[in-house]
Subunit: 206 residues, 2 copies
Amino acid sequence: MASSDSPGNGGRRGRRPGDSGTREAILDAARARFSSEGFRGATVRAIAGDAGVDPALVMHFFGTKQALFVAAMEFPLDPAEIVPRLLGPGVDGLGERLLRFLLGIIDELGDANPMLGLVRSAVTHPDAARMMREFLGEAILDRIAAGIDADRPRLRADLCASQIVGILVARQILALPELAAADRELLVGIYGRTIQRYLTEPLDSS
Amino acid sequence: MASSDSPGNGGRRGRRPGDSGTREAILDAARARFSSEGFRGATVRAIAGDAGVDPALVMHFFGTKQALFVAAMEFPLDPAEIVPRLLGPGVDGLGERLLRFLLGIIDELGDANPMLGLVRSAVTHPDAARMMREFLGEAILDRIAAGIDADRPRLRADLCASQIVGILVARQILALPELAAADRELLVGIYGRTIQRYLTEPLDSS
DNA sequence: TCGCGATCTCAACGCCCGTTGAATCCGAGT
DNA sequence: ACTCGGATTCAACGGGCGTTGAGATCGCGA
């Protein structure tokens, strides 16, 4: 599906003129396939097909399906930059800011969303689970934990992760009907308050 | 792994004496495999191996891998009974009751947890996603929505589902360290309050 | 006692997978 | 003008998959 045929065409072997951009075409196709079908479900052959290229070329560039996965699932935004930007204005309203940002990029990325690819792969593939745990942990959660002033900061970050992953699965993957249809700003308010509570309010019961 | 060899042994063909219990052994093996590896990752051959039986016998009993999945993922508890029991004492403390119950059966079911199998399969396999959406929706969420007295009851139920699925993925599958290690009653308090808010408090921002 | 039918195994089918090795093509550097 | 090496394809490999059909075994009702 969606197999346009810009690169590698004509059935002729050998090098095509120009800078080709084939590598990027493969990465784009891989992002889309991994995101919507997960590591196991996406096949090298289908990715190559989408990119209009022989499967062997994929191996030539990336060596291994696993390595292609790592390359394709690289997060398109740098957490070292965005986390401080979200934390910048202070801890007030942090939950809403975080959620507005999250729902924004979910809609923006659409089909080729590495977060979805990581989730779809992690639930089945232990290596992908490790990748996701490390990315979430080191790149995001620990940074957030370091930026708030409260007890058990890392547990608080994990709580946030559990609600965010739940949003991804329930809204984007399962597509629970009222949740998928709900107004975005309404969700920002509801979930933002949850995140805010996880980050800053006392943890033991009221 | 875990392949004991009670049924179908001896390499001899034909019927064994007694009531055999082979069908149940296959279902048990299927539950464990589907739960820990998802629909695609679990193979008929591995399930048959765990049950100490030829793969063809699995097909003889269930006809299809898909049908075996449906049979194995049947929820071991009847929602038509437990949802009213949770709703019974009224809406006060419903969040905590729901969470105590949920974390309880998660620990109780251990390896062979149909909820995990459904999640692990649904993120990749559209049929399983439909199964899970329908089971969640008709058997649980709609019942809860009918039992609370508030606006947009189904959206509220979907919000609960998103947090619960997030707990399953972050705590049981990704095993985020502080979340997996946290005291159960602490989590009951924290998440219980979230669920309570989703079910009964005003939805638009304070 | 006999045979029906359920239980069970064996061997094979066709398919798709990730990966490999050799061959071809052609732009760029000398 | 000539090579060198990267880009690209083709054909094949070995292995795992779900599924099938034929046949063996044996408990149980008549």
